[in-house]
């Protein structure tokens, strides 16, 4: 077990390095002098050309590509991500400010969708071909077919514009920062984000449960005289969980990267809108650093998937050794 985990974690290192190399190469295509995003803009404005040259020397910008890459990597490890070309703010502070907002929406949406998706899928599978299963199947199909921003627009036009129950966008009213004051801002983005995921999870839960329920060990469990609920939950759901967990963990990077489209619909100040603004303002250092973080989050999520699957299914753990 420990050996398996260690192997997985070691495999991660070259992949992380490849990501940083890709991002570094991308950074080289940013037009202009790298010095502009490596030190704060108000520092630059105070420097005369000679001092600027000295600064370049000190930052290692006159060295060859390989040395530059390792200097840059070292800075990253120290949390020095550079500065925005547009606002001049440090990228780290921008991320620190935006991350909690995205995190909030994503975690709520993930929890809602996990709860609803699992429940609906479970009911559908245990009552296969019933009216409720048919209803769920159609709803699930609609859930994965309608674009999430369309749900967003519908939500805004009904609940904000027509009924006036919920705000149409933003994160909070000025001065009112408590979670209870912000809750009304979270309802629509979280629900819109959750709908598609509920549908996906429901479909997978149903499929996976049906697969498992036709296995021999379910027959064995029934023939032992276990109650139907016991068979479904302890023997069925537990074994059906792996593919479902995989999908759920796959969405975890959203916590970091934000949901670009939904954040944009609701004008929500998270990582997604930060990325969008950076792109429309050609603020490439911000774009590259954010992308890198998201890619790394995806790698970590895939590691997590392997570890959880191994915990849930001993065959994976011992299969390849």
């Amino acid at each position: 077990m420990g050996k398996y985990f260690l192997k997985r974690i070691l495999e991660l290192i070259p992949k992380l390095l490849i990501i940083t190399i890709v991002i570094f190469v991308g950074m080289q295509f940013i037009p202009g002098d790298p010095v502009t995003y490596l030190i704060p803009p108000d520092t630059i404005s105070k420097l005369d050309p000679a001092q600027l040259e000295a600064m370049r020397e000190k930052l290692g910008l006159n060295e060859n590509v390989v040395v530059r890459y390792f200097t840059w990597l070292g800075n990253l490890l120290h949390g020095e991500f550079g500065y925005s070309l547009v606002s001049g703010a440090s990228i780290k502070s921008m991320i620190v400010q935006r991350l909690p907002a995205s995190f909030e929406v994503a975690i709520i949406a993930l929890l809602i969708s996990a709860a609803c998706g699992l429940t609906f899928g479970f009911i559908s599978a245990t009552k296969q071909n019933s009216l409720i299963d048919y209803f769920n199947t159609i709803l699930g199909m609609i859930g994965i077919s309608v674009p999430e921003f369309f749900f967003g627009l519908l939500g805004i036009s009904i609940f904000s514009l027509k009924l006036g129950w919920l705000p149409s966008g933003g994160r909070m009213m000025p001065g009112k920062e408590a979670l209870s004051d912000r809750a009304e801002f979270l309802v629509l983005p979280c629900l819109c984000l959750a709908i598609g995921l509920i549908a996906t999870l429901m479909r997978y839960t149903r499929g996976s449960m049906l697969d498992v329920l036709h296995k021999d060990y379910i027959k064995t469990a029934r023939s032992k005289g276990l109650s139907e609920a016991n068979v479904h939950i302890k023997h069925g759901l537990r074994n059906a969980l792996i593919p479902i967990v995989v999908i759920l963990v796959n969405r975890l990077p959203m916590l970091l990267g934000g949901a670009v489209v939904i954040e944009s619909v609701f004008n929500y100040p998270g990582m997604g809108t930060m990325l969008l603004n950076a792109i429309s303002g050609s603020d490439m250092p911000v774009v590259m650093i954010t992308t890198m973080m998201i890619a790394m989050a995806i790698l970590l999520a895939s590691l997590l998937i392997d570890l959880i699957s191994a915990l849930l299914d001993p065959r994976i753990r011992f299969g390849k050794e």
Binding site: V22, F149, V261, S280, V287, T291, A295, I298
Partner: protein
């Protein structure tokens, strides 16, 4: 001869299976209808989707303008018909080229195995860590918006699914006797891969092409909606909604975003129903 009759009966059985699936039929009809509507767009509307008529801004639906006009005075019905052409083409071309890449990589991976396979698997894993949306965002940041860029990105980042399907299928087929007899007859590797092994993977590949077409139409609409998809002057369904983002239009002229939204949802729903039906047909385990 005997093999031929066997084949046609299998095809007939598959078709029967597909036609007995009501949802798949419904999906097929929806998709066909939307495709025909966009192909015959010039016959169905006299308007040019790009023609700007400042005197006709934000007209309500009428006999003259079936769905009304947008804030630039363009006929909405015409824009949706012509928009379908682009949205559907982008989705289909992207999924076809992604599948082509995946099939080639999958054949090579599965047939040669070993180191070649390991390298291709590694590459596909690296590709899956950069999410499509983010890659498109970067390319748009560097190169600007273009329809071709979008299709290219979709194909370059979308081949991994097909790769996996074809690879695992070919690995299991590789040991069959007919491959051995091919090798014994001196048939070359590429011919064995693409002529003898590949046809056996058609089913799952067709299913994945269908479903990913739906996925790409959705992604395109989302990206265009946030203003990062195809250039704004190209009337795709997503771009039409993007033009209707202001609160005023949302409240007072709902047709402008409802109509293209329904078009996207209907098309994707239809393709998904069809894809699910096809999967049932090709799924031999049932």
């Amino acid at each position: 001869m005997r093999q031929k009759t066997h084949r046609s009966s299998l095809a007939r059985r598959n078709l029967q299976k597909l036609f007995s699936n009501r949802l798949a039929i419904l999906g097929g009809v929806i998709v066909l209808a939307l495709v025909l509507l966009s192909i015959f767009a010039p016959l169905l509307t006299p308007y040019d989707p790009a023609f700007i008529d400042p005197t006709q801004r934000l007209q309500p639906p009428s006999a003259e303008h079936l769905l009304g006009t947008d804030n630039a005075g363009r006929d909405l019905w015409a824009r949706i018909l012509y928009g379908g052409r682009l949205s559907i083409t982008i989705g289909l071309v992207s999924s076809l080229s992604a599948a082509a890449l995946g099939v080639i990589a999958g054949c090579i991976s599965g047939y040669f195995g070993g180191k070649v396979d390991a390298v291709l698997l590694y590459i596909s894993e690296i590709f899956s860590t950069f999410p499509q949306t983010i890659l498109i965002l970067i390319i748009v940041g560097f190169a600007g918006r273009s329809t071709l860029n979008m299709v290219l990105i979709f194909s370059i980042t979308g081949w991994m699914g097909t790769h996996r399907i074809v690879r695992s299928r070919i690995i299991s087929l590789r040991e069959e006797a007919f491959v051995e007899s091919c090798v014994a007859c001196g048939i070359g590797s590429s011919s064995i891969m693409f002529r003898h092994l590949l046809p056996n993977t058609v089913g799952p590949v067709v299913v994945s092409i269908t479903l990913s077409t739906a996925g790409y139409v959705l992604s395109e609409s989302g990206l265009s909606f946030i203003g990062l998809g195809v250039p704004p002057e190209v009337p795709t369904w997503g771009n039409i909604i993007n033009a209707a983002k202001s609160l005023d239009i949302m409240q007072n002229h709902p047709a402008l975003w409802l109509a293209p939204g329904v078009a996207i949802a209907l098309f994707v729903l239809g393709v998904n129903f069809l894809g699910d039906g096809l999967r049932d047909v090709f799924d031999t385990t049932q």
